[in-house]
């Protein structure tokens, strides 16, 4: 348990954190922009990887495997969107239904619960073997960082377009949006599709990174995504106001999450308890705004009431 062990483990934690950071950007779009908590990502976080790995193994080129993974992820988002907007099922429940259905879909895509992929045989884009002692242009950290920058640039452009503005307005004030002629249902579906597409992309990277796709790899993904969103907000919230920078903050939130996790593991924490720890941390951060308002009202407000 020397510091060197921790130091050696850090590049891996950063790479993994960045990949989960991409996933968290997807969560940010539903949770923050659209104001919908979408749980289907727990399923999509496996679907993207399953599609990508199976396609690579059947000889498809990397770019095609990634595109198809994203498209399949978007279809999962479409399913949640249709359940929610056209069938009136509450968003959380619609997400859970999609997530459950995806479990079977993922099994069918993979044919079994766990599919390994050999990085010697296939030319993978990212891998845990590529974080150290490789030429810098092959380094997974650099490649994922570039993916994030491209993704942020695309999203920054998109949310500045008429359609992107309509999507933001839908999340902010559906009443106003409809009064201004915005079809809020279409926009919610669109947002869910974009979000799940991004998550599927992250999933495709993650399964390559770890060298396998597992049916359970998406379990609790929403919590990790939320954790990254919240950490990014808490750490960089005062610094970053621009939308693009906020997205970068979310990705960095993922890195911090995995770095802290690495430290916790290094300290000898029982790894069986990690998910419980994540859940507790996220619960605390989600509760803070409410607790602050409810139990510790600002002095200004109390003064007014006293009058």
């Amino acid at each position: 348990m020397s510091l060197l062990t921790l130091f050696n483990a850090m590049p891996g934690a950063i790479a993994q954190g960045l990949i989960w950071g991409i996933m968290a950007i997807g969560v940010y779009i539903t949770y923050k922009v659209l104001d919908v908590a979408d749980l289907s990502v727990d399923g999509t976080m496996c679907t993207g990887g399953a599609v990508c790995i199976m396609m690579l193994m059947s000889g498809a080129p990397m770019w095609l495997a990634l595109i198809v993974a994203v498209i399949v992820g978007m279809i999962a988002g479409l399913a949640t969107g249709i359940l929610h907007t056209l069938m009136g099922i509450p968003a959380i429940l619609a997400g859970i239904l999609t997530q459950l259905g995806l479990y079977s879909v993922n099994l069918k895509i993979m044919g079994k619960a766990n599919v390994p992929i050999n990085n010697q045989k296939y030319n993978l884009m990212v891998s845990l073997l590529y974080v150290k002692n490789v030429p810098f242009y092959k380094n997974t950290i650099l490649i994922v960082a570039i993916c994030i920058l491209i993704l942020v640039a695309i999203l920054y452009w998109f949310f500045g377009t008429e359609l992107g503005c309509a999507l933001r307005a839908t999340g902010c004030n559906p009443n106003m949006s409809r009064a201004q002629g915005i079809n809020t249902k279409v926009n919610i579906v669109l947002g869910l599709m974009i979000s799940n597409g991004i998550v599927a992309f992250a999933s495709a990277l993650l399964s390559q990174y770890q060298g396998f796709c597992d049916i359970n790899m998406g379990r609790g993904a929403i919590v990790i995504g939320l954790a990254a969103v919240i950490i990014g907000e808490v750490v960089f919230g005062k610094l970053f106001h621009n939308f693009a920078l906020k997205l970068v903050a979310v990705a960095l939130g993922g890195v911090i999450y995995y770095a802290v996790l690495q430290v916790v593991i290094w300290l000898g924490f029982d790894t069986d308890l990690l998910k419980l720890l994540s859940a507790i941390v996220v619960a605390i951060f989600l509760a803070i705004p409410y607790v602050k308002k409810e139990y510790f009202p600002k002095k200004k407000q109390t003064a007014k009431e006293d009058k």
């Binding site: 500045g160 009064a179 002629g181 915005i182």
Partner: protein, 265 residues
């Protein structure tokens, strides 16, 4: 311009909370009509505006705007014809978005929203000029989030947004009710100006009888989901609050028992 024919709306039908909010109501507005709407609580004023706006569909009857039947047209499609300002200042604007972005969204009402820029530099300049006319100092805060504005400022902005794309009908749902008297007067003056400039066909709900008399060329009073008084032209110009109270008593067969309206005398 606006034709509302024999519309009915019952909420919670078949339950103990059943409430007939619109009871065979008909209303025709001519182009350029500025009609004020008064009536007690639960008279169906807001329900009428929501029916026109398409918040939900009416049970029976027809609504048409400028000759186009909109009875079964969903809210966001109908928005093409309508400018709306709500009673709650929070409802009309997107708080997390900037002032100029809100205006840009309103400028695209009724148009297809695709991948062209959500707001252009040229637009921004024109919004600056437009906001100057409000005289609230908003022209210097173009990139501020709307959530930072006061209720009055937000309401004035909503009014501007509602008229940015000239609407066939402007619907104002007690849009000054949540404001302090001074701001309310300012927003009302701005309303008169905007309606007058483009000669907009307008339906304005108010709880203030004086305002209802002072503004517009027509006044309707509602009770139990129906129009019980319709006063226009010369008659409207000579109208006083006393007249209105007396005529309400005759028309509805009971004393006017709405505190808010009586206090507003």
């Amino acid at each position: 311009m606006l034709k509302v024919e024999n519309i009915y709306k019952t909420f919670n039908a078949g339950t103990i909370n059943e409430k007939t909010a619109l009871n065979g109501l008909s209303l025709h507005l001519e182009p350029g009509d500025f009609c004020t709407v008064i009536g007690g609580n639960g008279a169906g004023k807001s329900t009428l505006l929501n029916a026109i706006a398409g918040t939900w569909y009416v049970d029976e009857g027809n609504i048409s705007i400028n000759g186009i039947d909109v009875t079964k047209m969903p809210e966001h499609k109908r928005a093409k014809f309508l400018g709306r300002v709500f009673q709650d200042p929070m409802l009309g604007t997107a708080a997390n978005m900037r002032i100029d972005e809100n205006l840009a969204i309103a400028a695209r009402r009724g148009k297809a929203r695709m991948l062209s820029s959500g707001i252009t530099a040229k637009e921004r300049e024109s919004y600056k000029e437009l906001l100057k006319t409000l005289d609230l100092g908003l022209e210097d805060r173009l990139t501020s989030k709307v959530g930072l504005l006061s209720g009055g400022q937000r309401q004035a902005l909503t009014l501007l947004m509602a008229s940015l794309q000239k609407p066939e009908v402007l619907l104002l749902d007690e849009h000054t009710a949540a404001l302090d008297p001074k701001t309310a007067a300012k927003v009302l003056a701005k309303t008169d100006e905007i309606v007058g400039k483009d000669n907009l066909t307008t339906l304005m709900i108010t709880h203030n009888m004086k305002d209802a008399i002072a503004h517009g060329n027509r006044l309707i009073m509602m009770d139990s989901g129906r129009i019980i008084l319709d006063i226009k032209g010369e008659e409207k110009k000579k109208l006083t609050v006393e007249d209105l109270l007396n005529r309400f008593a005759i028309a509805s067969g009971e004393e006017l028992n709405n505190d808010r309206m009586i206090l507003a005398k």
